[in-house]
Amino acid sequence: MSSKKPMGQRVKEFVIDYKRQWEIQSMIIPGIIFMIIFCFIPIYGLTIAFKSYTVIDTLDSAPWVGLDNFRIILSDKYFWDAVVNTLGISFLKLAIGFIIPIILSVMIYELSAGRFKKLVQTISYLPHFLSWIVLGGMLIAWFSSSGMINEILLNLAIISKPVNILLDANKYWWIATLSDIWKEAGWGTILYLAIMSKIDPTYYEAAKIDGASRMRQIWNITLPNMKPIISLNLILTVSGLLGSNLDQTLVLMNSQNREKAEVINSYVYRMGMTQGDFSYATAVGLGVSIVSVILLISANKVSSKLNDNQSVL
């Protein structure tokens, strides 16, 4: 058995095919070059997490320091503060923000088709299209001492004198969570509504004949049909626990609430971009992505166990 000849032949065939396909290959090559430059070179660039990089170095001239950067992370108080804030905000978003779109989509689905249904959908999707900068500016206006929220609280006699809630660090987690839900809950219903529209209507007719109430129909027909997409969403949410919204944090964080507002992403930004500690910031980012991948894999495992060994991903 000579392996050399078939090999050479294969290369030859490949080259001939490639030449024949040059026109269509010329469409793909720019994309490949793009991926190599903008995706794979930065992945290689992660090596600076194991180096001591200063501005005068190039990526290759910086000296290796092994796991030193990671050792410093473990004893960095500010890093752990950021971890606590990230997890706190993410869990609040998960606990409340995950359920609301499901409830909302069921409610919209139960409406009879008509103007009102269209109106509710149109309005609930709208906030998704506002940028975090715009929404941040709005939040600052709403929460300011002469703003809307204070006005409502004063009228309801919940507070007796106006306060700027955004300057209160202890309330920041709630502001971050609730504003995120306000922005994205309606958008989150689109996918659920799409899945619901594919449920066979004869199920509901049969249930009606059996005398099942509307709540019962939701519980026994609508929700079970949505289980796969809900678990897929849950997996993605869990894997994103450590990656909180950088835009939101940058616009809402101020010197008064920093202690409770700093999240891992904004910490990476601050250490890397403002303080120029590139190696350290990259090490933090790398550590977080590794943990996120582990979370993704384990969440997928758990859910496939729960869903009769059918892996969602």
């Binding site: 396909q21 991926m35 409406l111 999707y125 506002l130 101020n254």
Partner: protein
């Protein structure tokens, strides 16, 4: 028999009533804050300083908008936003369509490797700092092209277009080939016109993304002349935040003017999206479906 029907009817009616009331509340929670921003932006400084209104302002005035339009840098920022959105969308869609078309052909050599590379880009990235170092070494810092070039490609969009191109009947391509057309010609003359709905969806999503993006500026741009509206607004917000913290109980005039300018800028920044929204809405639901539901 009659009893069960009546019972079901009553149950449904109660359910519907509660459902509609709750959804009305949800709608109000979304609309009122937005309405409040618009009304506040149209209020005089005096009314803003006194506060105390939610639905209707005691004193309307266009002074905030006049102040915004007096600032030439905001006009420039508007132009930058429009330019980067317009150029960005066209180049992004064309680039992704071109690659998607190539990859939609099963017979091409090296396809497995290309797809594998694409999938890797969906799950792994170098993150903020390595990407910054790359952009810096490419000389894209403080260049308009930093808005366009790194945003050219998204494998997610390539996959959507690839699936769309696959659904075009093969016979179209075959007959064009018999007539002597090359791949480029077939792509430009047959596939692009046929794929307008898919490309419009991607264009709209990408356009909203480009319009709303401010991180690119924050990371790579220090030249004020290249600031888009979002960055300009961010600066106004940060500025007003520090001011309001510096004069707690101090000069209320400065505070309300910056607040008014901020509100007017917010409305101006959002206006193009709200104007485009009816067009957007027609496409984005099908776009979500294209990306998410695979049969």
């Amino acid at each position: 028999m009659n009893r069960t029907v009546a019972k079901e009817d009553l149950d449904s009616r109660i359910f519907n009533t509660i459902n509609i009331i709750l959804l009305c509340i949800c709608t109000v929670i979304i609309v009122v804050p937005l309405w409040n921003v618009v009304i506040s932006s149209l209020s005089s400084g005096k009314a803003l300083a006194e506060g105390g209104f939610i639905f209707w302002s005691p004193e309307f005035s266009l002074e905030n908008y006049r102040a915004v339009f007096k600032d030439e840098t905001i006009g420039l920022a508007f132009l930058v936003s429009i330019a980067k959105t317009f150029i960005g969308v066209i180049t992004h869609v064309f680039f992704c369509a071109m690659i998607g078309y190539g990859l939609s052909k099963k017979y091409i050599r090296g396809r497995k490797l290309y797809v594998a590379m694409g999938v890797v880009t969906m799950f792994f990235s170098g993150g903020m700092i390595p990407t910054y170092l790359l952009i810096k070494s490419l000389g894209l810092l403080n260049s308009f092209w930093v808005y366009i070039i790194p945003a050219l490609f998204s494998y997610y969009d390539v996959v959507i277009l690839m699936n769309f191109f696959r659904n075009v009947p093969d016979s179209l391509e075959e007959s064009a080939k018999i007539d002597g057309a090359g791949d480029w010609r077939i792509f430009l003359k047959i596939f692009i016109p046929l794929s307008m709905p898919a490309m419009a969806t991607i264009a709209l999503f990408n356009g909203v993304g480009q319009w709303n993006d401010f991180m690119t500026t924050k990371l790579y741009i220090t030249d004020q002349a290249l600031y888009p509206l979002q960055m300009k607004l961010y600066e106004i917000i940060v500025q007003s935040q520090t001011q309001s913290m510096q004069n707690v109980g101090g000069s209320a005039i400065i505070e309300t003017t910056t607040k008014g300018v901020q509100l007017a800028t917010i409305v101006i920044t959002t206006l193009p999206i709200v104007v485009m929204y009816p067009i957007l809405q027609r496409y984005f639901i099908s776009g979500m479906m294209m990306g998410a539901v695979k049969e």
